[in-house]
């Protein structure tokens, strides 16, 4: 038990004092007077104890202040109706700011000018989420180990190698060049700092108390670092290395067949047949590909099916009100404190409501009187590796364009908590970017790479997200929507839009490198200039559509456009099922309402089951032992919905996962130590199973006495699936095998070690490729919003799985989770002015200069 240590000290010191009494007096008095010694020793013990308890002991916080009920953790507990103080003086404000809190803890901020507005936004959000903001900025700065210790060191090294800090510095330069973004980020920082200066230990977030550090002053750089976290989360994944291994082993023809550049079943974001309203610029010709076998290894997170999102807007011609409806649910890693924070921001230039990321000023996803907008991740390939040929073992030069170019070196320093000296990490740079890991160094994901330089959009894409949000927050029409396109550089977002002038639109916005076809599908040749990223796709040429014939726009991270789009964005996007389902439902919807869109956000229908389950059942039907298995009739009668109560969903989801592995792992070992490969997509797998059931790929090359067909693999996998489910959940019962229980979603605290600050095993339906995209890995709809546009005043609904407060001791820490799990939404309080009397407003705070 970790509390044992200080008590041990206490007990020892106590005993030692009585020990003094037993020392023979003549001996002592011959040296000192006994009374002085006693006084001295007792002072040392009392003072020493106080000193010891006033500082962190190993992993323990400073127990004195932490346990004291006057300053410690009990002070972090909020009573159910704790209202913030009603008036506050803040140096730095120009005028007076009124903050109305509604009963869900959402602040509605009314300021006399924009400087005060962003100042107040910073101040208010810091009160609820300062530790989280500090945490995000530390992640991107690669400085988490300073406060978390050696555990976080590898993570820090990796984030520094990704150049997140350098990227942030460039963002700050861009912010500072523009007077508007400069005003925003400086006012916001000043507001956060006004809180930091004011906060005492007693009021400080409990994470600061436990981890034993205090917040640093906020700065524009920290805001930029938060943006870099988002770029990394959305873009920093790659299967280039695994694809290269497959290419080396099987050649281009097989790879073309099994890893096609466009799915068999897809419903792209821009409706098929849409004409492109631009003349494309010349696309670079495909150069000679790298011939040499890849000697170096690279292991990096390949795909993350949990990061994705849905959004759509329905034109007034298809809604009950005659004006558009807009819905958005970004799927991210679910965490506590939540990634989002709801706010209404009002000044003479703006009145906007929505969610923002703590640390990032403005409203990210939201609505105002006239427009609404939302975002999903584009997920194009903007993260490429180049194989680097060094001249010799000194790694001082590398080959490029038939010359030797110098390698530059940078030493990253880490001040790790608990380590006596500075830890360093030497990074080699080529003009492509950093060598992600050098030989002999341990990579962050798995084992060993050598000599691969990374080029990715994170540290190079420019733009100005703050200006973009400034414009969208004040947007009135489609013209304003178009103005922000060039400003949103990275990550790329499918930006959905609707206005009360009955316009709807969607654009895959962002800065995308202008690539030759399949550039970056495999590892690129670092010595060939034709493999470099040369320029960008003109932003006006990004896939975009306004008011399409079908009367709605939507995205679910699928291919932005069909094959008629003239530019290469990537060979693989999120699986098409969510997009297919959304587009089918929206096509069928007449007179859509808020409620029909809400229900659609929680839609659990399994498109993949519709596609493949009948074929699987047909095969299993022929197998007496499978048919006799009690799981068979359950699967056969399953309604193909991933509802929490369905056992069929549990069996199906496991079956298709195992099936893909059973078919491919012998030929494309994804976990192989030496040459891991990508598995063909599920889309390609099901096509093969349906159309070519006797393909050689079904043969399990690990068995020598038999040539398997699709039927054999399906039958044996079904049995294996039931066996592994039984091993995991016990014999099949409705209670233990129901999808909600089997999947169960964990919403963990940002420090996973703080288990008691997490909400584990939240029961709900859905799945990775279900519109209700809640996964067992803790990903899912991190904010659900539905907005009903109106000529006068919009109505909006929203919820996220957490609460406004970042404080685990607040009733508003996780109060929305249960409602979220049920698929319900809160009506959002969108005030017209600070004088509006709304029954849900429970307290008012005045901020004065």
């Amino acid at each position: 038990m970790i509390v044992g240590y200080p008590f041990f000290i206490l007990t020892c010191t106590h005993k030692s004092l009585y020990f003094i009494n037993k020392i023979p007096k003549p001996f002592i008095s011959s040296l000192f007077s006994m009374k002085y010694l006693r006084a001295f020793l007792s002072l040392v013990i009392a003072g020493g104890l106080t000193y010891l308890l006033n500082r962190p002991l190993g992993v323990l916080p400073s127990l004195g202040p932490f346990f004291s009920p006057f300053t410690g953790f009990w002070q972090n507990a909020d009573a159910p109706l704790k209202l913030p103080p009603s008036e506050m003086k803040l140096a730095g404000l120009k005028g007076e700011v009124t903050v109305e809190y509604d009963d869900n803890g959402v602040p509605h901020v009314f300021a006399d000018n924009d400087e005060d507005l962003y100042f107040a936004q910073g101040y208010i959000i810091a009160r609820d989420r300062l530790w989280q903001m500090d945490f995000y900025s530390r992640v991107a700065a690669g400085r988490l180990s300073e406060v978390m210790g050696p555990l976080a060191l590898d993570f820090d090294r990796y984030n520094r190698r990704l150049q997140l800090p350098e990227g942030a510095e460039k963002l700050v330069e861009a912010f500072m060049k523009d007077p508007i973004s400069k005003m925003i980020v400086e006012s916001y920082s000043a507001g956060v700092n006004a809180y930091i200066e004011q906060v005492s230990y007693k009021e400080m977030a409990i994470e600061f108390k436990i981890l034993g550090y205090t917040p640093e002053a906020w700065s524009p750089l920290k805001t930029a670092l938060v943006e870099m976290v988002m770029r990394k989360d959305m873009n920093a994944r790659s299967d280039d290395y695994r694809m290269s291994n497959a290419l080396t082993k099987y050649g281009k023809e097989v790879v073309n067949d099994l890893f096609p550049d466009y799915p068999i079943e897809e419903s792209p974001i821009i409706p098929v047949g849409t004409k492109w309203a631009f003349t494309p610029v010349a696309v670079p010709k495909v150069p000679e590909l790298m011939k040499e076998a890849i000697a170096a290894k690279l292991d990096i997170e390949a795909e993350n099916p949990g990061i994705g999102s849905n959004n759509w807007a329905v034109h007034g011609s298809r809604t009950a009100t005659g004006l558009p409806l807009l819905a958005n649910d970004p799927h991210l890693g679910l965490s506590l404190p939540s990634i989002w924070y709801q706010m209404q921001l009002v000044s003479p230039t703006v009145n906007v409501y929505g969610v923002c990321v703590p640390g990032w000023p403005g409203i990210g996803i939201g609505f105002n009187k006239d427009i609404a907008w939302g975002m999903t991740n584009v997920g194009s390939d903007v993260f490429d590796f180049y194989q680097i040929q060094f001249k010799d073992k000194t790694l001082k030069q590398y080959k490029y364009n038939n010359e030797w170019r110098p390698v530059t070196m940078k030493v990253n320093e880490f001040k790790v908590k608990g380590l006596p000296t500075m830890t360093t990490d030497t990074v080699l740079y080529t003009h492509h970017g950093p060598i992600l890991y050098s030989e002999g160094q341990k990579p962050f994901f798995g084992d060993l790479p050598v000599g691969h330089a990374l080029t990715w959009v994170g540290p190079v894409a420019q733009g100005n997200s703050l200006k973009a949000l400034y414009i969208s927050n004040r947007g009135k029409s489609y013209e304003d929507y178009q103005k922000i396109m060039g400003l949103l550089a990275a990550p790329g977002f499918n930006l959905v839009f609707a206005s009360n002038q009955n316009d709807i639109a969607i654009t895959s916005s962002g800065h995308f490198p202008l690539k030759w076809k399949e550039q970056g599908k495999f590892i690129l040749d670092g010595s060939n200039p034709e493999h470099d990223w040369r320029s960008w796709i003109p932003v006006e040429h990004n896939p975009s559509v306004k008011n399409p014939m079908r009367g709605f726009v939507s995205s679910a991270n699928q291919f932005p456009a069909d094959r008629s789009y003239p530019y290469y964005l990537g060979w693989k996007f999120a699986p098409g099922e969510r997009g297919i389902r959304i587009n089918e439902r929206l096509s069928a919807m007449e007179k859509a309402t808020v409620d029909s869109l809400r229900l659609m956000q929680g839609d659990n229908f399994n498109i993949e089951a519709r596609r493949i389950l009948p074929d699987l059942l047909k095969i299993l039907e022929q197998d007496a032992s499978a048919k006799a298995n009690p799981a068979y009739p359950i699967l056969a009668k399953w309604n193909m919905r991933n509802d929490p109560s369905e056992v069929g969903a549990t069996i199906f989801e496991r079956l298709v996962r195992e099936l893909r592995l059973a078919i491919w792992e012998d030929d494309f070992p994804s976990k192989d130590e030496k040459t891991p490969m990508s598995l063909p997509t599920r889309d390609r797998t099901w096509e093969l199973l349906k159309k070519q059931p006797t393909s050689k790929w079904f043969d399990d090359t690990r068995t020598t006495n038999k040539i398997e067909t699709a039927d054999d693999i399906v039958k044996t996998t079904f049995k294996a699936t039931i066996d592994s489910l039984t091993a995991k959940y016990g014999p099949m019962t409705h209670a233990t095998w129901a999808w909600g229980t089997a999947k169960s979603t964990d919403i963990k605290h940002l420090v996973p070690l703080f288990k008691s600050f997490s909400r584990m095993d939240v029961i709900n339906g859905g799945g990775a490729n279900i519109v209700n995209a809640t996964t067992d890995a803790g990903h899912g709809p991190s904010w659900r919003m539905v907005v009903q546009l109106d000529k006068n005043w919009p109505k909006a609904y929203g919820i996220y799985p957490g609460g406004q407060s970042g404080n685990p001791g607040s009733p508003l820490y996780d109060n929305m989770i249960d409602k979220w799990a049920k698929g319900e939404l809160n009506e959002l309080v969108f005030l017209k002015s600070k004088d509006e009397k709304h029954p849900k407003v429970v307290s008012t705070v005045k901020l004065k200069h």
Partner: protein, 113 residues
Amino acid sequence: MVYTLIIVLSAIAQYFGPWWLMPIICFGLCFWKSETAKGAYGIAFAAISTLWLSYATYQNIVTQGVITNKIAELFRIPNATLLFTAVTFVGGTVAGFAGMAGYYCRAAFVSTK
């Protein structure tokens, strides 16, 4: 008397200032008035235990225990009662030694006869 004074004065001090004013007050009051070392230790221990335990209990009640179990679990303390015990013990021990130091210092530096 000393018991009550420790509670009242240290409550005021801790409410407005850092927690370590508490041992200073225990030291001061026991310096001013205490009979024996053990007595000083005991009375300071008892006073601060009472104060910390009562205030913690009050906080726990008004906040409906929203944080107590979470902290107990985080520190791998099996139940909330033990957490209260630990808190009381830490506060009491610091206070006790400070009180005892108060007594010994008086005995050393102030002539009692």
